[in-house]
């Protein structure tokens, strides 16, 4: 059973953020993308169904762009399956944290929960930040 990340978004966001990931972490071989609605004939239901069917032997970590959006909702149909983990709110901090630890964790559930918590803290209004003045020492 292999672990795979699937980035699924409206338009080219998924492909774009994968290039950002690769710039920082190097070639990402186990990351697939679904860029929804880029062609007239695009069928979300079939695309997602095929992705799930092809990966029945794999552990899938799906990250979508918008909670409650159509892409997320389509994957939501499969969250009862034990090999499918669905996360919404794709951003680069979240993706890097999950990607870099994917092969090093025993529990995807723990990894995902922690990565969501950490990446939420990276969304900041920087003007209002108070950075600690004191310096750390050895």
């Amino acid at each position: 059973m292999a672990r795979k990340i699937i980035l699924a978004t409206h338009g080219n966001f998924a492909q774009g953020i994968r290039t950002s990931l690769e710039l920082i972490c190097g070639k990402a071989t186990n990351v697939e993308v679904i860029c929804a609605y880029m062609e007239e004939a695009f069928d979300l239901g079939t695309t997602v169904e095929n992705m799930i069917t092809e990966n029945q032997e794999n552990e899938l970590l799906v990250i979508t762009d918008i909670f409650g959006g159509s892409v997320n909702n389509e994957f939501f149909k499969y969250v009862e399956r034990s090999n499918v983990h669905l996360v919404s709110g794709l951003n680069l901090s979240l993706l890097i944290e999950i990607y870099t630890q994917l092969e090093h964790t025993d529990s995807l559930e723990t990894l995902i929960t922690q990565a969501i918590k950490n990446s939420q803290e990276t969304i900041q209004y920087c003007n209002l930040l108070k950075v600690k003045d004191e310096e750390e020492e050895f």
Binding site: I24, C25, G26, T100, Q101, N118, V131, E135, E136, F138
Partner: protein, 156 residues
Amino acid sequence: MIKLLRVDHRLLHGQVAFSWTQSLGVDCILIANDDVPQNDIRKTTIKLAKPAGVKLVIKNIEDSISALQSGVTDKYKLFIVVESVADAYKLAKGCPEIKHINLGGMKVREGTRNISKAVNITSDEEVLVKELVAEGVDIEIRQVPNDKKVAALDAF
């Protein structure tokens, strides 16, 4: 122990902080630089880039060398970041324990030539690198941990 010394003109930023800290498994980052200790904006951005759970120490070059020589850093798995080959040379000369240097980012400057993606070097810097390599320091070029290691001398 010193895991790696990296040369990056941007010092600590997201790419370095995330990927190198993770892949080296370090618990402490030393920023050795003569400007940052008195440059509040630079200091702030470096503190913001620090990954959670890692200690960050900022010192000028001289104090960095003293700290490394004193033994207070021995208990850490240490990742050192400097902004130039000249600074890396000073640290390596002062601390023979530094055995691995990574050239990660050196911007285009007067008299530089490009030897790798994001690495531009002057002839003076090449001399310093060659001297350290001759003394047994492993000097390699890599932007991110997953890139293929290229020995600096092979790129010259």
